[in-house]
Symmetry: C2
Subunit: 197 residues, 2 copies
DNA sequence: GACAAAACGGAGCGGTGCTCCGGATACTAA
DNA sequence: TTAGTATCCGGAGCACCGCTCCGTTTTGTC
């Protein structure tokens, strides 16, 4: 709680220049390594790729979740912002929900191991899980509410449960032609529609 | 392919007495450790619990998947056998499918980390995944076919996809009151029902 | 009891997460 | 420009893990 430096500045600009530079270097390197080795890649490898020491990574991103969060920050944000946008543009709230889920799923399945990390049983990624929730849960809830309001789906589904379920369905090997999470998610959405008794 | 010893014996009885004894000891110890520490527990810990060396475990169960498979052998078998049984007893093929899935889910969620292991994107549990599939896929397919035949659900769903989807929905922390995989699986099944257009 | 085959146990190797601290670096003030 | 200092860096080091190798012990047989 000590006083901040002069002129405060925004979140990540109140550091020394080399620190700021290294932060970016690490983020770039991590993004590259994540593509080839998944978000579970050894910190040593990321450090080597960035040409820095391990401690530098830990100093900027104390937990692995912090690093992953920072790397995918923009895409999480884009996904969150797509929600209201779709709600305004799509043909129906249900379509908006469906398209938003498509975006979310595309995001998850193209990042090797990200879905696994999100639902990991260990606590190593707790902060990542929390950040996804903070940012995306309200969006999902809004879309869900709108669809219920419009009578497109039955009420009673909890946004958290739906979001985690979708994430769960994206877990595991993504190169298996026998398994496409999108088909199951479509079934799930179908199950949400009102009974046409 | 060398000649077997005298009196051959069934699968795991053609070894020396101490080996046979240790095999059982290890299985018991592993079952205990799995309950408290999950199926990812360190081999060292299981060895300590059993009072044997690590090499003994690796000798009897070359991969972790072999050990896990052996520990849960009986329950996998029971689950597989429940399929035809339910099909004969339940009110409808759909009910049979639903009840069988309940059994499967109960099995998964009560073994910490088992669902995670099954869908793990590493290859460490490949043999476990394969064994589950060998044993349960035909059962699931039979139940699915019967339900389609009876007109309870729409055709077109692949047993593998359904089984893996259910497994996926069981992944992650099992002590979160906000998330109950059974509710989502019920939705999934609902989505399988014919459109009452 | 002697012998060989089988099984055992744990030291040891490579790899990983994370920390600690001596040294290098960037800003500040004179 | 040059000192001085707070900040940051790098990698050695420790703990833990999976897995193997090999000298030792146990078991079954003659």
């Amino acid at each position: 709680m000590a006083a901040e430096g002069p002129a405060g500045g925004s979140a990540s600009r109140s550091k020394r220049a080399d620190a700021q530079r290294n932060r970016e270097t690490v983020l770039t390197a991590a993004a590259e390594v994540f593509v080839t080795s998944g978000v579970d890649a050894p910190i040593r490898r990321i450090a080597a790729q960035a040409g820095v020491g391990m401690a530098t990574i830990y100093r900027h991103f104390p937990t692995r979740a912090d690093l992953v969060t920072a790397v995918y920050q923009h895409q999480i944000e884009a996904c969150a912002e797509a929600g209201p946008h779709l709600l305004a543009r799509a043909g129906s709230p249900f379509d908006a929900l469906r398209q938003w889920i498509d975006i979310f799923v595309d995001f998850l399945v193209t990042k090797h191991g990200l879905a696994d990390a999100l639902q990991s049983d260990s606590d190593r990624f707790a902060a990542l899980h929390a950040h996804f929730l903070d940012r995306l849960l309200p969006v999902c809830a809004q879309l869900l509410d709108a669809a219920v309001e419009a009578g497109d789906i039955r009420p009673g589904t909890q946004p958290y449960e739906l979001l985690r379920g979708i994430g769960n369905l994206c877990v595991g090997r993504d190169d298996d032609p026998r398994y496409d999470p999108r088909r199951l998610i479509a079934l799930l959405l179908q199950g949400l529609r009102p009974h046409a008794s």
